[in-house]
Symmetry: C2
Subunit: 331 residues, 2 copies
């Protein structure tokens, strides 16, 4: 028998186990042109909380009574599809089910020899692709330039900073504790770090850490932290708007210093993005990230929980900060 | 005797006539390798307000007690320079003086037969190049897209809108009087116009004029007008930050709704620029603009003020919206 995890009730406030339900059903059978997939690793991510509500956003909400979907690595256990063979591994947006059938649409084959399978949900998945594509397609950092990263100790931020170092930049990270700043420098090779929680004057702190100014700013937070960075941007600088966690819980549009004069005076670019904008670059990006991983140039931290039955709890634990780095469930 | 106009005092807030002073001096005499120029047309432009302050910017501030400099078309009245002959006309950044000597550095000869001399301060000068390069290099408008232009009745704005029409866009202009809106539609072929001075809800007005949303926004004003446009931007939209006249006379950084969440949600780009960033594209751009001008596809409106003594007032009038199209002074 097959098992799946459905959205039983939409949460109000913090989700709980009662929002999920397990269902048992007959094993699915692949039709012509389809294949049968067995789930290996499931990604649990904070953004999924948004999909549990029915508010309009750039990804549609989960449907009540339907299986939750998200990043999954699965093994092909039977195939009636010309392009996939039994024993292949695939990655993509799939259901929280032990087994499921697929036409292969939207799935990418992954190589379990080149990297651990779980990496395709993290460094070689959306996390790494967000860092790589945002930085390279928008930031276009050049050797010798200065890159500042906010949310630098997060999954995306830590990868951004490491890529910056590989590309020859001076890299300065902004994070919220001295311990995180220490980690950025010792584990990820950042040149300097700023603990914004103990810094009164962000603009001055950035100026002190970036004697040649800031050429590229990869922003995960926005808010007053970013205002301090903006004031140090060099002419023709690039601001990559990846996240704005400082504002996610605000109920009205927050106010801040207007950016237009600053953009004009220094010919600055600001560009928001979601990673799927750059889907055409994913194959080359995954290849580059995998190479750096194999060469030991990229460090990536994971928390791996075991067991299909523990997926909902692993998701809930994200909101308690139980994970170090990317949280995945091994099925 | 020669006359010149100097910066007498730096303005705080809105400039006034008292910031300028007229000085009389002996006629300059060209040395070997120099020529004597007689000013024919002087360009007055909003960006010059920035140079009157001593804040750091992309162009150095005017110096106190020195002649103001800007775009000028002048006639060679005497020449000790091999490359220039008496009777030639030249264009470039020159002083607000009746006569001046020059080595010819940075000057371009212009052809008064091919186009009216004043056009070299407008459609075929920085104004047209700013419109063309900003729109094509940053906005990249596609046929069928919707282009909104603020400051649409201004020199740059009216050219931007016409280029948008040539490229097959729906073009909506924002300006400050019903008369200007009428001109946009009848003279420049805009599809629709919004008088921001009689509009309470800019966001709703833009939505009504742009049923398919806004793909490209060429912004000359910033402020609350732009906030209304921003709320109608389509996914992957481009905002060209060319000017921010709403804020030029403000003495502190103005506050407004933060843009980061908006940029991320819709994958928007904002890019500030000055036209010299695109200098490599100028020859092709001038050729294209001249061709459209000859084909009758581009209308260009000028407000010509007569008299050297009226240059400061003409400049001040820019901030009262007294001009239709490019403001120049015929000396």
């Amino acid at each position: 028998m097959n098992q799946r995890i459905i959205l039983a009730h939409r949460p109000t406030g913090t989700p709980t186990l009662s929002n999920f339900a397990f269902e048992t059903e007959a094993m699915p059978v692949p039709a012509d042109g389809e294949m049968l997939l067995e789930t290996c690793y499931v990604s649990v991510d904070p953004y999924m909380r948004g999909r549990m509500s029915d508010a309009k956003s750039y990804v549609p909400p989960f449907e009540l009574g339907q299986a939750i979907t998200g990043g999954v690595v699965a093994k092909v256990t039977a195939s009636n599809h010309a392009a996939f063979t039994e024993g292949d591994y695939v990655m993509g947006s799939l259901a929280w089910q032990l087994f499921q059938v697929s036409t292969g649409e939207g799935l990418t084959k992954v190589d379990g020899e080149a990297a651990p399978l779980s990496a395709y949900l993290g460094l070689l998945g959306m996390t790494g692709l967000t860092a790589y594509c945002g930085l390279s397609e928008i930031g276009k950092p050049q050797a010798g330039e200065t890159l500042v990263v906010s949310g630098a100790a997060g999954a995306v931020g830590s990868v951004v900073g490491q890529i910056g170092k590989i590309l020859g930049c001076r890299v300065v990270g902004i994070a919220g504790s001295d311990e995180k700043i220490e980690t950025l420098q010792t584990e990820y090779g950042f040149d300097a770090g700023i603990n914004y929680k103990t810094t009164d004057d962000m603009a001055a702190a950035v100026a002190a850490s970036c004697p040649d100014g800031v050429d590229v700013y990869f922003d995960n937070v926005a808010g007053s932290v970013s205002d301090g960075v903006y004031r140090n941007m060099n002419r023709l600088g690039r601001i990559i708007n990846c996240g704005a966690i400082a504002h996610y819980n605000e109920t009205s549009v927050p106010m801040g210093p207007r950016v237009e004069m600053m953009l004009i005076k220094n010919s600055l670019l600001m560009q928001g993005f979601i990673v799927s904008n750059y889907a055409e670059h994913f194959p080359a990006a995954v290849q580059q990230l995998a190479q750096w991983l194999q060469q030991g140039k990229l460090q990536f931290s994971e928390t791996v929980v075991e067991g299909f039955e523990n997926i909902p709890q692993a998701f809930l634990d994200l909101f308690q900060g139980a994970n170090h780095g990317k949280m995945v469930v091994k099925v």
